[in-house]
């Protein structure tokens, strides 16, 4: 049985200046499932996320989301497409001059002409979903880390997006708050039939929520599959990531000495 695909990434290359961050990534994100992108620091997770959000233009390759190639889409098309996407950023990205409720309503006020009563009720429905209803009138500066993440999630889902991106939902949270957020992500998938992409390196969370897992390493896709397939992998990089084994770095003595003494840099500049 073929699975419907929400996001198709083909031969994606992303560079910052001369630095290649993602190298020839091919990845399918299935519709209506929770896909987790994981990998160590510097593996390219955030760059892949930024590329999918249309915030970083790839050097080459294609990203088709719900049938639209966002790499070649015009700014107007991208703007229209973003109405189908919700993003909860790692730090929340809430506007500090607005209350929690006002932050959450913002996409509705920007993109719709709904009646004020409808906007207010929708806001409270979403606040209730993330257990933030009593905190509608607080300012972002008055929120804890977990509350900020939940408020950001409420804003991300206010337009009932087909695609939800969640950057590091568990980072910096206590285990209970983190587990509550995991439950919420699963409920959102089940009840609202969202395709959810979560970027994280929190292993406990990954295996609790993921239908599919993609592991990045050194700018490439190491492995993509179900949690069972990932667990069964004997690829040393996957095993290392799952067992939290420190990376083994092969050292070229001469090259390392040249780097430390500055000779390498000098020869690079020539």
């Amino acid at each position: 049985m073929t699975q419907e695909t929400a996001i198709e990434i083909r031969d994606l290359v992303v560079e910052y200046g001369n630095r290649r961050i993602l190298n020839s990534i091919d990845l399918d994100i299935p519709l209506g499932q929770i896909s987790v992108i994981m990998g160590g620091s510097g593996a390219g997770k955030s760059t892949l996320l930024r590329s999918m959000l249309g915030l970083k233009k790839p050097t080459s390759g294609a990203i088709r989301m719900l049938g639209t190639d966002i790499c070649t889409a015009s700014p107007g098309q991208l703007q229209e497409f973003r109405k189908q996407m919700g993003v909860a950023f790692q730090g929340g990205a809430l506007f500090t001059s607005m209350t929690v409720g006002e932050n959450i309503q913002l996409p509705l006020r920007q993109h719709t002409r709904l009646d004020e009563n409808t906007i207010q009720i929708m806001t409270r429905i979403k606040l209730d979903m993330v257990n933030m209803l009593p905190h509608e009138h607080l300012m972002p500066s008055e929120l804890s880390g977990g509350m900020t993440k939940r408020a950001a999630l409420a804003r991300a889902i206010i337009m009932d997006p087909k695609l939800l991106f969640f950057d590091e939902p568990s980072a910096g949270l206590d285990p209970i708050t983190s587990a509550e957020l995991d439950e919420l992500i699963i409920k959102l998938k089940q009840s609202m039939n969202m395709t959810i992409v979560v970027v994280t390196h929190e292993l406990e969370s990954v295996f609790k929520i993921a239908d599919r897992i993609a592991i990045l390493g050194d700018g490439g896709l190491i492995l993509a599959g179900t949690p069972e397939e990932i667990r069964a992998s004997d690829d040393p990089r996957v095993v290392g990531l799952l067992n939290r084994t420190p990376r083994q770095v092969n050292v070229d003595v001469d090259q390392h000495l040249r780097r430390l003494s500055g000779l390498q840099e000098a020869s690079d500049k020539k």
Partner: protein, 111 residues
Amino acid sequence: MKHELVNKPDFDVLVLSGDIDLHHSPTLRERILSSLKGGRPLLIDMQEVSYIDSSGIASLVEGFQTAKSSNLHFGLLSISSPTLQVLAITRLDKIFSLYETEDSFIEILEL
């Protein structure tokens, strides 16, 4: 979304079908509120609703609140399982009066 208001002897039925999303919920809101202005109980038949988003649910909440403040019965008929899940995540399944048949709504009116 398609909609049709059917006048029964003691109440109105708003029959809905198709998808109810951001584009259709203003119409749904207007239909519900204008029907309630007539001062008759309202049953929303959702059997043929394939999808409802939170703007549609917000219209139902406002309708329910309006009916309640006018002492009118307001019910939802034949809610599908996916819609019920959306209601359940915000506990609205415990707030709305849900009916499986029109007769069960009539029984409540007769009490």
